[in-house]
């Protein structure tokens, strides 16, 4: 046997073996992943929807069904089957009799550590914010995360004034966070000692979102009035 030939032959066999091995493993891995995905995706989307539903029911009282809307870049409301993840969703909530009871509005903005995503409830008749829930935050545990747990802070969102002015195009008063214990007007949020920046961020997020979305809701009210 010629030594060189053997080496060449074994090299060829080696690279073929290498190719087979990589393709084999690749196919097997792809199969496993796809199987898991197919097996779990239904349950995952159900759990996600359930969690969102619970949050909506928490911020808008006395409702039993919802419709999901989004505001397009042109400022029109659409009801997309698959929501655009880069735009906040607006949920209209209805009671058992099918009457519109309020809105749950998604909003986000810069917190102390990272972006905070919240959901707030809006009552169009009383023109007040009626509920508040933190969807996602990375605020400092023990300090900034009081915005999720602090009872007196959460009490702020039980009737926070966001009424529109005469033109129906802007808020009469900007929502502002004030120093803890100095709230004197219905449009002010009582801040948290030790979480000043986080609580101020919540005020800003709500103010920015409300100033844009609430006038639009008022203008298009008949769009939401009935349950489909």
């Amino acid at each position: 046997m010629n030594g060189q030939q053997t080496i060449q032959a074994s090299q060829e066999a080696g690279s073929r073996k290498m190719l087979i091995a990589m393709v084999g493993i690749g196919v097997m891995c792809a199969l496993l992943i796809v199987l898991t995905y197919e097996g779990t995706s239904e349950r995952i989307s159900r759990l996600r929807a359930q969690a969102l539903q619970e949050a909506i029911f928490r911020v808008v009282p006395d409702i039993s069904s919802t419709r999901a809307f989004q505001l397009t870049a042109q400022g029109e409301f659409t009801e997309p089957a698959v929501p655009d993840p880069t735009r906040p969703q607006i949920f209209a909530g209805y009671n058992d009799a099918g009457q519109l009871k309020g809105f749950a509005i998604e909003a986000s903005g810069q917190g102390y550590a990272d972006v905070i995503r919240i959901l707030y409830g809006y009552d169009p008749v009383r023109e007040e914010i009626v509920g508040f829930y933190v969807l996602e935050s990375k605020e400092t545990p023990g300090l900034g995360d009081k915005i999720e747990k602090d009872v007196t802070f959460l009490e702020n969102f039980n009737g926070l004034d966001v009424s529109l002015d005469e033109t129906d195009e802007a808020l009469r008063q900007d929502v502002v966070t004030v120093k803890s214990g100095t709230k004197s007007n219905p449009w002010e949020i009582d801040g948290i000692t030790g979480a000043t920046i986080s609580s101020r961020a919540i005020g800003n997020i709500i103010n920015e979102s409300a100033a844009v979305i609430l006038p639009k809701i008022k203008a298009e009210m008949n769009l939401f009035s009935d349950q489909q």
Binding site: C29, A30, I33, V34, T36, Y37, P85, T86, P88, S108, Q110, Y112, A113, D114, V115, R117, T140, I197, A201
Partner: protein
């Protein structure tokens, strides 16, 4: 939801949410290569470079995966593409600039398994950054990594002159210092506001 300004993204990745000191990514090189100031800064440069490249790749892959609607392939394609990119970059540098290769060369293979790189790719996707924002994010993360590494190396060089008890020498004292550094970096929170 990707309306953040470039400046904020940079500060956030570099100082407020420093990859090493707040997210604990890239701890292995942080503990391993932070013995000397010189190597630490070179390692930092190499990581920043690879981060920039893999951030671009990750952006492309993500767009592709969204187009073909296959989110479940995200992780596997990220890791494969990042690993092979690092290999290609290594070969490219060796051919184009032997001097640069000598400076960075030995660190490049180490970087493939650096969680900071994969972490960057995953975070930028989660945050929904566009192409330019991703690049700034990568630059910030790399700068933050370098900063942490260089600070640590500087402290450890000084530490060589002290007489620490035998039991705390090595990893223990490095971790303690890292903890104190991490506390210091907490002071940067809120800078973006």
């Amino acid at each position: 939801m990707n309306t953040e300004s470039m400046w904020y993204i940079f500060i956030n990745a570099c100082l407020v949410n420093n990859f090493v000191l707040a997210y604990f990514l890239g701890i292995c090189p942080f503990l391993g290569v932070s013995g000397k100031l010189d190597t630490a800064s070179k390692m930092g440069a190499a990581v920043t470079f690879v981060m920039l490249i893999s951030s671009m790749c990750a952006y492309g892959i993500h767009a592709l995966l969204v187009a073909v609607n296959a989110p479940f392939l995200q992780l596997i394609s990220y890791i494969v593409v990042i690993a092979s990119t690092v290999q290609l970059v290594e070969m490219f540098i060796r051919k184009m600039s032997p001097a640069l290769f000598r400076a960075l060369g030995i660190f490049l293979p180490l970087i493939t398994t650096n969680c900071a790189i994969l972490g960057l790719a995953l975070f930028q996707t989660n945050k929904g950054y566009d192409f330019l924002q991703s690049l700034v994010y990568a630059l910030g993360a790399g700068a933050g990594f370098t900063l942490a590494l260089v600070l640590m190396a500087g402290l450890r060089e000084q530490l060589g002159f002290t007489e620490a008890p035998k039991v705390v020498r090595g990893t223990v004292i490095t971790l303690l210092i890292a903890g104190i550094l991490s506390l210091t970096f907490m002071g940067f929170s809120g800078l973006g506001n």
